[in-house]
Subunit: 258 residues, 2 copies
């Protein structure tokens, strides 16, 4: 078992794509599907491995796919879509998924019901079915990650942390990066506070968002390629314990701009 609460000597980390995952349908068991595909790739889960899944495969398995022609945009959605040159039906879904709208100029930035701040409440038409339907974020991605984590344990006997990822924009930086929206089986932050660096200086205020960095690493493997929605990360001594993606959401009173 490589996982550890202490930082050990830095080791090589590998991100291994799981090829051969077919389109999933509502009700499918993602643990079984990923395990089957991994086995076909001659990949065996072992202690220390982490599984990263793109959220869209979760949306499909959980039936969070909405046909756009079934959506009647509100006046607000129509106005926002016109202003942002986007599809009013997607915007309508994004508004329904939002707890709060933070910005609706150029792009719609919302706070989702989970507390995530992202464009269009994570509602996305790409990699679904060619533009007919939109995928919504899972209702409770932490619960989904926990379910898959438990099932993998049952099927393989191994403790495999599970991260569900999505691509989010950033306030001040260009481009999207994958972040963790659901996590189970590991801590999401590595806490260095109170530890001494190699020069004897006591670190403070340093928490590393390792679950987001793992999601980003998996994002490099998958890119926008819908055919590789799963990735195994091997060799990373993740922080032991339980954690969830909501711990990665900055409390509103501590966040930097709301």
């Amino acid at each position: 078992m490589r996982a550890s609460n202490r930082q050990e000597r830095a080791q090589e980390i590998r991100a291994i794509p799981v090829h051969g995952i077919a389109d999933v349908k509502p009700g499918d068991s993602l643990a079984e599907i990923v395990l089957g595909a991994a086995t076909s790739c001659k990949l065996q889960f072992s202690a220390g491995d982490i599984l990263v899944l793109k959220h869209k495969i979760v949306a499909k398995a959980e039936g969070r796919i909405i046909r756009l022609d079934s959506v009647k945009p509100s006046r607000r959605a129509l106005a926002t879509a016109r202003r942002n040159n986007s599809d009013a039906r997607s915007i309508e879904l994004a508004l329904r998924e939002a707890r709060r709208v933070l910005r609706d100029k150029h792009v719609l930035i919302t706070e989702t019901q989970h507390g995530f701040v992202c464009a269009n409440s994570g509602v996305d038409v790409s990699n679904v079915d060619g533009g007919e339907s939109a995928a919504l974020l899972p209702l409770d991605p932490d619960a989904t990650a926990a379910k898959i984590h438990r099932k993998l344990k049952k099927l393989t006997g191994v403790h495999i942390p599970v991260i569900i990822s999505d691509s989010f924009g950033r306030a001040w930086r260009q481009g999207l990066v994958d972040v963790a929206i659901g996590v189970a089986g590991m801590k999401v932050l590595r806490d260095y506070r109170g530890r001494r660096d190699d020069y004897g200086y006591t670190l403070h205020a340093t928490e590393q968002a390792v679950a987001d960095e793992l999601a980003a690493m998996a994002g490099l493997v998958s890119g926008k390629d819908a055919r590789v929605p799963a990735c195994i990360i091997r060799g990373y001594a993740y922080p032991l314990g339980s954690g969830n993606a909501r711990q990665l959401v900055r409390a509103t009173d501590k966040d930097l701009f709301r």
Copy 2:
């Protein structure tokens, strides 16, 4: 050569720590030092490899280390430090490095002269010399990356993109993640706009900040361990072309909150 402008079949990506890098001194050649350490680890640079360096080793090589007892805090620095329970001399340096202060409550968030938005203008006392001195961000991290990139080419004959990284906080998410503050030898964004997904849907508004994801991946290898300030990423088909980290800075008129 694995690098490519097109996304190929997803492949395994490896992040390999370069052990054995001793403390660097002002004027040291980082290309030579990293190459020497890599050779001692029996690591040979090959086509497709990317080198990620923590900014602190760059600060040391470029003499961007300031003794705190040489810094006289201004009244503003004293007030901010008192409010945030931090060291007034570090805050003074952070204010001098800043183009603009975005927030000075709880934590000092600034826009640096490079345009980066981060805490304390990137001024950091950890992993320097035990608390006596602070490291400033490199004056021009893109130029530094380009210099190391050219020198590596000269020494090895191989085209090795170079990324200089630092740990930044995010507006809405907890914890730090490593991002790219200097880049040479590759594009920093992978542009999917106009490409069709596997279902025939044309992607728009999708740019992946791959240089940041590569920095994050390297951040997992190094953690806060000063002994491993360099990491080789192998197997990632990075977007070919030239790019720099300033392209990762969102234009002020497009950013989400200034």
